[in-house]
């Protein structure tokens, strides 16, 4: 049982590290969504199902949409070879 928590926590850490290292903004948005997914599971396992429900609704669904809208609105202002779709 505790092995599953450690496993999901390892997935969360790997996704967070990759979200820092990746050079693509939309990939970083996807990886942050995976971090939120794993955080919801950790909240559930720590005994807070209502917090897990809120995290699933806000963090995984709504913040991905808002981040994508922000990337779309601001990418015309970005100049440089490292920022790409």
């Amino acid at each position: 049982m505790i092995l599953i928590d450690i496993f999901v926590g390892a997935i969360m850490l790997a996704a967070a590290a990759a979200a820092m290292w990746v050079r693509n903004l939309v990939s970083a948005v996807i990886l942050v969504g995976v971090v939120s997914l794993a955080a919801s599971f950790i909240f559930l396992r720590l005994g807070a199902p209502d917090v897990a429900m809120t995290e699933a609704a806000i963090g995984s669904a709504l913040s991905t949409v808002i981040f994508l809208i922000v990337v779309r609105r601001t990418e015309s202002h970005e100049k440089g070879p490292e920022v790409q779709r």
Binding site: F7, S27, I30, M53, A61, T64
Partner: protein
């Protein structure tokens, strides 16, 4: 016997999550990462339901239902972004 089968099922789901995470981390392009995020979302649901059966807590089923109802929004917005822009 039932506990053994449940543990084996959770192990299979964990292996599937491992493979989806591998594809998420090394995916060369962004649509691969989007697809693997969708796969990870679908994998987390049987993990939660299996833990609900194993630990005997009914509230996990409710969380799993809310998650299944809401998890399509992120992938839907990503698909819209890849198609013609959000």
């Amino acid at each position: 016997m039932a506990s053994l089968i449940l543990t084996a099922a959770l192990a299979v789901v964990a292996v599937a999550a491992l493979m989806a995470t591998w594809q998420l981390l090394r995916g060369p392009d962004t649509p691969t990462r989007a697809a693997s995020m969708d796969v990870l979302t679908s994998i987390l649901l049987p993990l939660i339901v299996g833990l609900a059966v194993k630990s005997g807590r009914g509230i996990y089923i409710d969380v799993s239902m809310v998650y299944a109802l809401l998890s399509f929004l992120g992938v839907l917005s990503l698909a819209r972004y890849f198609d013609r822009g959000l």
